[in-house]
């Protein structure tokens, strides 16, 4: 099971982090803490950081360097318009996926609801 959730998170963590940034600006440590407090106990801080750097490269966030009492300055990330558009796309894809999975679960393939063609003949 832990493996399975890890695989599932690979595809969705990006959207999760963007969704958190949509509510407020944050730095990596804050996002990781929020995730851990909300049951995502397996998330590595480094992985979240890697995604934030990726968002920065793709121009989805604005970055502000804020001096820190200890250690290097913190990068605070804020979602910009491109980031909000990307997040909207993520939610659209998520809705599609969630709806299809719900259909599969409640009315198994082969019943009246349209099922993926590959399940025919099973």
């Amino acid at each position: 099971m832990p493996r399975q959730i890890t695989e599932m998170l690979k595809g969705t963590l990006e959207g999760i982090v963007l969704a958190i940034l949509a509510t407020r600006s944050a730095y990596g440590y804050e996002i990781t803490s929020w995730l851990r407090e909300n049951g995502f106990t397996e998330i590595a801080e480094g992985t979240v950081y890697a995604l934030l750097v990726r968002f920065e490269q793709r121009g989805l966030v604005e970055v502000e360097k804020v001096p820190s009492e200890k250690g290097p300055p913190r990068k605070v990330f804020t979602l910009n318009d491109a980031g909000r558009a990307y997040l909207a796309e993520f939610w659209a894809n998520w809705d599609f996926l969630a709806e299809r999975l719900r259909q599969l679960r409640t009315s198994p393939a082969g019943s009246t609801t349209p099922a993926p063609p590959t399940t025919e003949g099973n």
Partner: protein
């Protein structure tokens, strides 16, 4: 040093030495983690573009220094599966033709496109039916 082979630019070399100095100043455990990460990147990083490497090690330095300052346990920093963390990290710098992996991926895509074009152009001929 491997990095000096691929980064001809003097400014890049200076940045690399800056990174090494940053790592040297870390507490021993974080320094050891950094050495392991560098070793993996050397073998599997597949990023061979100087400026990209400079940016990557700059970001890695930020991450390690921040973690050391916060005293984030190394397990929490890299997770249960350090490979997964590092692959996510590396994916940020791969792509857009910056690594040999991209060139091989582009070759694969071109080969498949060519095979499909051949298939489609031969679709009407007698040999195509099966």
């Amino acid at each position: 040093m491997w990095i000096e082979r691929i980064t001809g630019d003097l400014a890049d070399k200076r940045k690399w030495r800056e990174y090494k100095a940053r790592v040297k100043a870390l507490p021993p455990a974080y320094r050891e983690a950094a050495a392991g990460i560098e070793r993996y990147i050397m073998h599997f990083g597949a990023v061979d573009d100087g400026p990209t490497l400079v940016r990557m090690f700059g970001d890695l330095g930020d991450l390690l220094e921040g973690a050391a300052a916060d005293q984030t346990p190394i397990r929490d920093l890299v997770g249960e599966d350090p490979v997964q963390f590092l692959e996510t990290f590396l994916d940020t710098y791969r792509g857009e033709g910056r690594s040999w992996i991209d060139k091989q991926r582009a070759k694969l895509t071109a080969s498949i496109d060519s095979a499909i074009a051949a298939q489609e152009s031969g679709a009407g001929s007698a040999g195509a039916g099966r």
